[in-house]
C-alpha cells in the first residue's frame, strides 16, 4: 500500500518539502497506530517527550564537560595556591585586553545562538541561518585572537613545560647542578619582565619593557616627569622596582625616590635578597597591589614559571578545541537549515547545538578572570 507521503517512514521531510508541511507518515505497513510526525522516533510517545529527553541527554553531557574542565580548574587551583608569586608574575605575559575582547565576542556569539534557536522556533529560516553564520563568525574571531596570543607567547619562547625559556631546564641542562655563569647570563638574557599597567613608578610611566636600554638607575627621573603626567594624582605613587634584565637581579635593593618626602611609600618597599622575597611578606603598597618582578621571585619559583604557562596553554587549548568543535557543529546546523530541516515542530539539533555553545561560553567566562585578571 502506498503511504501518504513520498518519504519513507522515519526520515526527515525531503528537501522539496515546504517547511510547514512536515509530512505525517501513514502506517500502511502495519504499525497499527495513527500517523505521527516523521521526526518522531518510535520509542517516544509524543514529540514533546522526545524533545524533553533529548534535552535531558544533552544536559547530562554538559555535566560531563563541566567535570572535565573541573579537573583542569582543580589543577589551576592547586598550582596557584602553592605558587601565588609565579602566577602573579607570569600572568603579565597575557594581555587582558585580548581576553576581554574574547569574552565579548563569545558573549555576542551566545546571544546570536540563542536568537537563532528562537528563530528556529518561530519558523524564521533565513534569520536562523544568519544567526548560525554570526555564531560561527564569533567562534572564528575568538580563535583568531587565540592565534595572535599564542603566536606572541611562542615568539617569546614561552612554551609549556621544559621548553619554556624561563625554566632553568631550558636546553636540557641539568636541573640540579648549580648554574654556570654562562647559564645565568643566558637565562637573564631571555628573561623578560612583562609590564602590567599597574606597574608604574611614580610619574605614571611604563618603564619596564623587555631589555630596556636605559638600565636600572633611572628611577629618579620618574619623579621629575611627574609634572608631565596626565594620570590623576591618586594613581600609582608606587616606588619603582629595579628590574632590568641587565641589572643584578638578585641582591639589588629597591630605591624609593620619594624617600623622606610626603610621597614616600607608607610601607617600606621590598628589598631583594639572595633567593628573592616571598610575596606574602609584601604589603600592598599605596595605590595598588604589590609589584612582582622576576628578580623578586624565589630562585625555586624562578624555575617554576612553566607551571603557569602549562596550565594556561592546557586550559585555553582544550577550550579552544571545544570552540573548534562548536564551529563545526554550526556549519552542520547551517547546512541542515539550508535544507529547511528545522521548523517550529522540530528544532532539537539547533537547541542542543546552542546548549553546547553556551557551555563553551560559560567556561570562558570563568577562565578569563582566573587567567587574565590576577592581581
Amino acid at each position: 500500500m502506498a503511504t501518504t507521503a513520498s518519504d519513507t517512514h522515519g526520515h526527515d521531510p525531503s528537501p522539496g518539502h515546504d517547511a510547514h508541511d512536515h509530512a505525517k507518515v501513514g502506517h500502511g505497513d502495519g504499525h497499527g497506530h495513527e500517523a505521527h510526525p516523521a521526526h518522531l522516533a518510535h520509542h517516544f510517545d509524543t514529540p514533546e517527550q522526545q524533545f524533553g529527553t533529548s534535552k535531558l541527554g544533552m544536559w547530562t553531557f554538559l555535566a560531563t564537560e563541566v567535570l572535565m574542565f573541573g579537573g583542569l580548574f582543580v589543577a589551576y587551583s592547586v598550582l596557584r595556591h602553592n605558587n601565588p608569586e609565579v602566577f602573579l608574575w607570569a600572568h603579565k605575559a597575557l594581555d587582558w585586553k585580548w581576553g576581554a575582547i574574547d569574552t565579548a565576542i563569545l558573549l555576542a556569539s551566545s546571544y546570536t545562538m540563542a536568537w537563532g534557536v528562537r528563530a528556529a522556533q518561530l519558523n524564521q529560516r533565513g534569520l536562523l541561518m544568519f544567526m548560525l553564520a554570526l555564531t560561527f563568525a564569533g567562534g572564528l574571531g575568538f580563535m583568531g585572537i587565540k592565534a595572535i596570543e599564542y603566536e606572541a607567547k611562542w615568539r617569546h619562547h614561552l612554551f609549556p613545560g621544559k621548553l619554556n625559556v624561563l625554566n632553568v631546564e631550558y636546553k636540557g641542562q641539568n636541573f640540579k647542578a648549580p648554574l654556570t655563569a654562562e647559564q645565568i647570563a643566558n637565562q637573564k638574557e631571555h628573561t623578560i619582565d612583562y609590564v602590567d599597567s599597574h606597574d608604574k613608578p611614580a610619574g605614571g610611566e611604563h618603564t619596564m619593557p623587555a631589555k630596556q636600554e636605559s638600565g636600572n638607575g633611572e628611577s629618579s627621573t620618574h619623579g621629575d616627569s611627574s609634572a608631565e603626567v596626565h594620570t590623576p594624582p591618586v594613581a600609582h605613587d608606587a616606588p619603582p622596582v629595579i628590574a632590568s634584565v641587565h641589572a643584578e637581579l638578585i641582591g639589588t635593593p629597591v630605591i624609593d625616590p620619594h624617600e623622606g618626602t610626603a610621597n614616600a611609600a607608607k610601607i617600606k618597599p621590598p628589598v631583594t635578597i639572595p633567593g628573592g622575597v616571598k610575596l606574602d611578606a609584601l604589603e600592598p603598597h599605596q595605590g595598588g597591589h604589590a609589584i612582582v618582578t622576576y628578580g623578586m621571585l624565589h630562585t625555586p619559583d624562578q624555575k617554576k614559571i612553566n607551571a603557569f604557562f602549562s596550565i594556561y596553554f592546557m586550559m585555553t587549548g582544550l577550550h579552544g578545541f571545544h570552540v573548534l568543535v562548536g564551529m563545526g557543529v554550526m556549519v552542520w546546523l547551517f547546512i541542515r537549515a539550508t535544507r529547511g530541516e528545522f521548523h517550529s515542530e522540530y528544532y532539537t539539533p539547533v537547541d542542543l547545538g546552542g546548549l553546547y555553545w553556551h557551555l563553551v561560553d560559560l567556561i570562558w567566562i570563568f577562565l578569563f578572570p582566573l587567567l587574565y585578571l590576577i592581581h
Binding site: 524533553g52 535531558l56 582543580v74 558573549l107 629618579s220 600592598p284 578572570p369
Partner: protein
C-alpha cells in the same frame, strides 16, 4: 494523541516557548556590563583592600552571576524541566568539592615542601634605601 500523559503538558510548554527577543538583548547587555565590572573590580586603583584573595573572590562572584544569567535565559533553564537544573547544579557542586578537598589536602602538605633556598624571614626588613642614589 492516545498516549498523552500529564508529563507531556510540561514538555509541551517547554517545547513551544520562545524566549522573548527583548529579554535576550537585555541579558546580553547585562553580561557585557558584568564583564566590564569584572575587569574594573580586579583592577581597582587606590583600593586599600586590594589584596589578591579579595580580587579573585570578587571576580569569581561576578562570573557566577554571569553564569546564572547564561544558564537561566540563554540556555532556557528557567522554562525547562527542573531536572535539567538539578543536573547542572550537581555537576558544579561536585567540581566545588573536588577543588575544595584538593586545596585542603594540598595545604596540609605545603609545610613539608622544600623551603625556598636563601630565604630567611628576618631579612625581610626593608632596606634603609642605602643603595646609591642616581
Amino acid at each position: 494523541m492516545a498516549h498523552q500523559v500529564s508529563n507531556s503538558e510540561a514538555h509541551e510548554k517547554q517545547h513551544h516557548h520562545a524566549v522573548p527577543l527583548w529579554l535576550l538583548t537585555v541579558v546580553f547587555i547585562a553580561l557585557l556590563l558584568l564583564t566590564g565590572a569584572t575587569v574594573w573590580v580586579t583592577r581597582l586603583d587606590g583600593n586599600q583592600v586590594n589584596v589578591p584573595s579579595f580580587n579573585i573572590l570578587m571576580a569569581l562572584l561576578i562570573a557566577f552571576v554571569k553564569a546564572v544569567l547564561v544558564c537561566l535565559i540563554f540556555m532556557h533553564l528557567r522554562w525547562d524541566s527542573p531536572f535539567n537544573t538539578v543536573i547542572i547544579i550537581c555537576s558544579l557542586l561536585f567540581v566545588s568539592l573536588f577543588i575544595a578537598f584538593t586545596i585542603i589536602d594540598s595545604s596540609m602538605y605545603k609545610s613539608t615542601l622544600t623551603p625556598p633556598s636563601g630565604f630567611t624571614p628576618s631579612e625581610q626588613i626593608a632596606g634603609d634605601g642605602a643603595a646609591p642614589a642616581h
